[in-house]
Amino acid sequence: MRRPNDVGGLPGGPINTHAHEPEPWQRLLTAIVSAVGPAVRKINCVDEFRRAREDLDPDFYASLTYFELWTEGFINLMQEKGVLTRAEVEARVAAMKARR
């Protein structure tokens, strides 16, 4: 059973090899993921985080960039762990957008 992350040997198209600076939200997400991980809060391990990303719907997975995959997998995993709900995240995003 090929999961959406398992693309070895499949046509992948061109690769952009130019270096680029991570965006602030990508840095923030990396910090949050680290803070709940094995070195700090021990809420989840890297293997669970990988699994949560691989569990995403394949078409949805293919439509996302790397840190978008992190976002979606992380929300699902935190919901599974009882830390927060997707509805809470979406409500917060809506509130932040309304403030801008």
């Binding site: 059973m1 070895g8 040997g9 391990c45 293997d47 669970e48 699994r51 691989e54």
Partner: protein, 94 residues
Amino acid sequence: MTARFKPGDRVRIRDANPPGHRRVPVYARGRAGVIERLCGEFPNPEELAYGFDGLPKRPLYRVRIRQTDIWPEYKGSAKDMLELEIYEHWLDPA
């Protein structure tokens, strides 16, 4: 640790398709190769991925496979090898 294989042993990666988080890429399943080294023993990541402790630890091997045995249209040297790290429960003697 009771490792079933030693360097030089011929093995075949299982051609299995279990659902869930698995640590063997589809392209490597069913391929034969040679044990290059025993890397150590580690909690099973396929269990850790679901919140279990992954114990008992599982032996992990570096398996050397000919590129021409993986990619039918491989254009490089027939001596080219791919090394993959594979847990013992995915390996059979070949």
